[in-house]
């Protein structure tokens, strides 16, 4: 047997779209192969015991992996959640499996039970962090983020939020790496690691010069600041302007599309209509802090 420290990981999927999993697969370096096969940090391996999109097993044998985590030692694994937790109608809007005895498992109950046993919970993507799209008005299925759900159910396991729609692979792997290196990520007032979410997009935007000199794009494809086309960069805390997406290929504002602040809680409602210029009056409704200039 090797001396590698094994970190068990259980990845659950609630009311989501799997976009965060697909995004994780887009990691360039370290790659997802480095994360799951290799010792991502020398001497440390992440053992992904359960992930419905990639795991070999299915049915009752797969569910038994969850049962083993639940009955195993406390702090025996890290819980990762993608997608929001739905609580209306007893959680019936999302079931994730059936035991050999025929018991249907709701995502909500499973997240609660495994949450209590986990050493740490990581909420991946805006749905898991803050409720995301299923929780957008009028929230027909009682969807919410993991931290809010844990609070409701009295689960004390700490939650780190890595929002984004989807989340960026570097944010996810970087946060996991911090944990494996024994570092506690310093988080902001909504639970996001400041390493990735500490800076305002507007303050680091390549088009900021246009904003400052009042040159605004009126049509898609124009040069200029995208504020009049609905950009929410002044409200979004993320390192997209520097890190960019898909191995540094592009990111929304560079590609001519207004940012929609997908890392911010309740962005689907706060910044809607997404293509309409944000005005003082709209922002007053949500009392959103804006950057010092404009």
């Amino acid at each position: 047997m090797s001396e590698t420290v094994e970190h068990g990981a259980v990845w659950l999927q609630g009311a989501g779209c799997s976009g965060c999993s697909v995004s994780l697969l887009n990691g360039l370096s370290p790659s997802v192969k480095n994360l799951l096969i290799d010792e991502i940090v020398p001497g440390q391996h992440v053992s992904l015991r359960f992930h419905a999109t990639v795991m070999a097993g299915q049915g009752a044998p797969a569910v038994s992996v969850l049962e083993a985590a639940e009955s195993g030692p406390d702090d025996g694994f890290i819980l990762l959640l993608e997608g929001s937790v739905q609580t209306a109608e007893g959680g019936i809007y999302c079931t994730i499996g059936e035991t050999a005895e025929g018991e249907h498992l709701t995502l909500a109950d499973t997240a609660e039970k495994l949450g209590r046993k986990a050493s740490l919970a990581i909420a991946i993507g805006t749905c898991a962090a803050y409720g995301g799209l299923p929780a957008a008005e009028p929230n027909p299925t009682g969807a919410m983020g993991l931290a809010e759900f844990f609070k409701e159910r009295g689960v004390e396991t700490p939650v780190v939020n890595i929002p984004g729609c989807p989340s960026h692979p570097d944010w996810i792997v970087g946060t996991i790496g911090m944990v494996l290196l024994g570092l506690t990520p310093e988080v902001d007032d909504v639970g996001r690691p400041k390493a990735f979410f500490g800076k305002l997009i507007h303050d680091n935007c390549p088009r900021r010069g246009y904003f400052d000199t009042g040159r605004f794009a009126k049509h898609f494809g124009d040069e200029g600041c995208l504020y009049e086309l609905g950009c929410s960069g002044p409200y979004a805390y993320a390192d997209c302007p520097n890190r960019q997406w898909n191995s540094g290929t592009n990111w929304p504002i560079k590609g001519g599309a207004p940012c929609m602040a997908c890392v911010e809680p309740k962005f689907w409602d706060k910044y809607a209509p997404l293509y309409q210029k944000i005005t003082e009056e709209r922002m007053e409704r949500f009392k959103v802090k804006r950057s010092a200039k404009g």
Binding site: S2, T4, E6, Q13, A15, C17, G19, C20, L25, S31, K33, S47, R49, F50, H51, A52, T53, V54, M55, A56, G57, Q58, G59, P61, A62, S64, V65, E89, Y93, C94, T95, I96, G97, E98, G132, L133, P134, P140, T141, C165, H219, F220, G221, W245, N246, S247, T249, N250, P252, G255, G256, A257, P258, M260, C262, W268, A272, P273, L274, Y275
Partner: protein
């Protein structure tokens, strides 16, 4: 002695799916497919600015967001009356975005979703060679923590050690290739998944020579991978599992809306000249019927939804009814002309093969010859995998050329003012099959929005007349050698590349008659 086998969750698909079959005498007699997540997108969309629809509906699915962005935007172009005004740069970039994600999705499906049903990773347990990638997998196996590759079914891995090893190496290389496919897509779509590049009227990105060259060469790289790794590995799997060309065929009726606009045109999307054209056909048939979107209906008989059966999506009525007696799924049962229809790469390839599409005929005939089979083998587990791989080859080849038609400096989008009152329909194909969006705008806001998506067609339950859905039909009559390790069941299901987040996204208005749509 009949035996029930329940598989919940079905893994290595997108989303939440349960399959239940009854096996008697080694043959599936009954099958039920159930989607187990519901989110309520239509309720959430109502009352919002119509332009937000293509951002919101992308989030139906993180594997095929581009298809929803496309269907939604075609829908809005149609509703806003601007379909004919989309500039050519916009038309082409939209195709490039779709093509890039087709490549990602098909590579992901074969290697990372389906392959573990056929490939045995333990073939590397005694690897003692020099290749660092293979050695790292041996080291992983030695450490003994084998998630997510175990637990798994046992007893039917037929590949030789050499082929297994090559397939595992290909699985790892495919991780890089699908990442490259998303890089290519992001050149035009701002980011992947969930890019913001497709908008009503066109796209947001501006073409430049460096972006054109970058996409062209990434597509060439993907084509090379498809030709030299994806298709050859599939062929090795096919040879070892050739009996899988003899079951899992299912209903044998194929519905396609067509995809990739080849020239400018109006909002009759299924009627436009597309790279893969629309149509309805049957296995063994010699002609293709023109698609008539008015023949699309949905039943809710076996769904956890109340309401009448047989309504056109434009006037659908549904209410969520969890626990409804007789219901076992959040999915509805879409039907074409009252009959069951399969959608997906097999539907597109088969329809275009029968229609005489030269490039499709060439690759399909070539693959069949290599396996010593005829077109009768296409409706099957292997036929679906083959159609998907051959489609990947065709799309990569074509998209590498389409990009060279972009004109830097020309417009990328026309204006798209939101009308006060409008109705629209957008029809396209996601990697998994025919995809339609419908919208009704009142007072400049969404009054109603509907989606009918590919996996609803494929994984939906039996309709009011008792016709099981395509996946259910593909299961019924198929063999199951070992009920403790029902490989055949999951191989059949996965051959459809199910995407359940798409299939259960939507609900119609509660009990309101939404009025009829003009089908443009």
């Amino acid at each position: 002695m009949a035996q029930k086998i329940k598989i919940d969750p079905v893994s290595r698909i997108e989303g939440h799916l349960k399959i239940e079959v009854t096996v008697d005498g080694g043959v599936v007699k009954e099958a039920e497919s159930s989607g187990t997540l519901f989110r309520g997108f239509e309720i959430i969309l109502r009352g919002r600015d119509p332009r937000d629809a293509q951002r919101i509906t992308q989030r139906v699915c993180g594997v095929c967001p581009t298809s929803h962005a496309m269907a939604s935007t075609l829908n809005l172009d149609s509703a806003f009356g601007i379909a004919e005004d989309v500039p050519d740069n916009g038309r082409i970039m939209r195709n490039l975005i779709l093509a890039g994600n087709y490549m990602q999705s098909h590579i992901l499906h074969f290697f990372h979703l389906a392959a573990l049903d056929y490939v045995d990773v333990t073939a590397l347990a005694d690897y003692d060679g020099e290749d660092p990638g293979m050695a790292s997998i041996k080291a992983f196996i030695d450490r003994g923590e084998l998630g997510p590759f175990f637990p798994r079914y046992e007893g039917d891995y037929r590949l030789s050690k050499a082929v297994n090893r090559a397939a595992v190496a290909a699985y790892v290389q495919a991780l890089d290739m699908r990442r490259v496919a998303h890089e290519a897509t992001a050149i035009w779509n701002t980011k992947m998944p969930h890019g913001s590049g497709i908008v009503p009227g066109g796209v947001t990105e501006t073409p430049t020579a460096d972006k054109i060259e970058a996409y062209h060469w990434k597509m060439n790289q993907l084509l090379d991978f498809t030709n030299s790794v994806y298709i050859p590995v599939l062929m090795e799997v096919a040879k070892a599992y050739l009996d899988h060309a003899g079951f899992g065929g299912g209903c044998g009726r194929y519905v396609s809306y067509g995809v990739f606009e080849m020239e400018p045109g109006g909002a009759d999307y299924a009627g436009r000249k597309r790279f893969l054209n629309s149509g309805v056909t049957e296995a063994g048939g010699s002609s293709v019927q023109k698609l008539d979107a008015s023949k699309i209906t949905e039943d809710v008989h076996s769904s956890w939804l109340d309401g009448p059966d047989g309504l056109h999506p434009s006037s659908g009525q549904t209410n969520p009814a969890p626990g409804k007696k007789g219901g076992h799924s959040w999915l509805k049962s879409p039907r074409y002309d009252g009959k069951v229809g399969e959608v997906g790469p097999l539907a597109r390839i088969y329809t275009n093969y029968v229609a005489g599409h030269a490039a499709v005929k060439e690759v399909v005939d070539g693959a069949l010859a290599a396996l010593g089979a005829d077109a009768g083998a296409l409706p099957s587990v292997l036929g679906r995998h083959a159609a998907r791989a051959l489609e990947a080859k065709l799309v990569a080849e074509a998209a590498a050329k389409w990009v060279l038609d972009l004109k830097p400096g020309e417009p990328v989008a026309c204006d798209a003012p939101v009308p006060a009152e409008a109705q629209g329909m957008g029809l396209t194909e996601a990697p998994r099959g025919a995809l339609g969006h419908w919208v009704n705008v009142k007072d400049g806001k969404i009054a109603n929005y509907q989606l009918v998506v590919p996996t609803t067609w494929n994984a939906g339950p039996a309709d009011a007349s008792g016709q099981p859905g395509p996946i259910e039909q593909a299961l019924i009559g198929s063999p199951v050698k070992d009920p403790e390790n029902p490989f055949e069941v999951v191989r059949i299901v996965r051959s459809f590349d199910p995407c359940l987040a798409c299939a259960v996204h939507m609900l119609d208005a509660r009990g309101n008659d939404l009025g009829r749509y003009r089908i443009a």
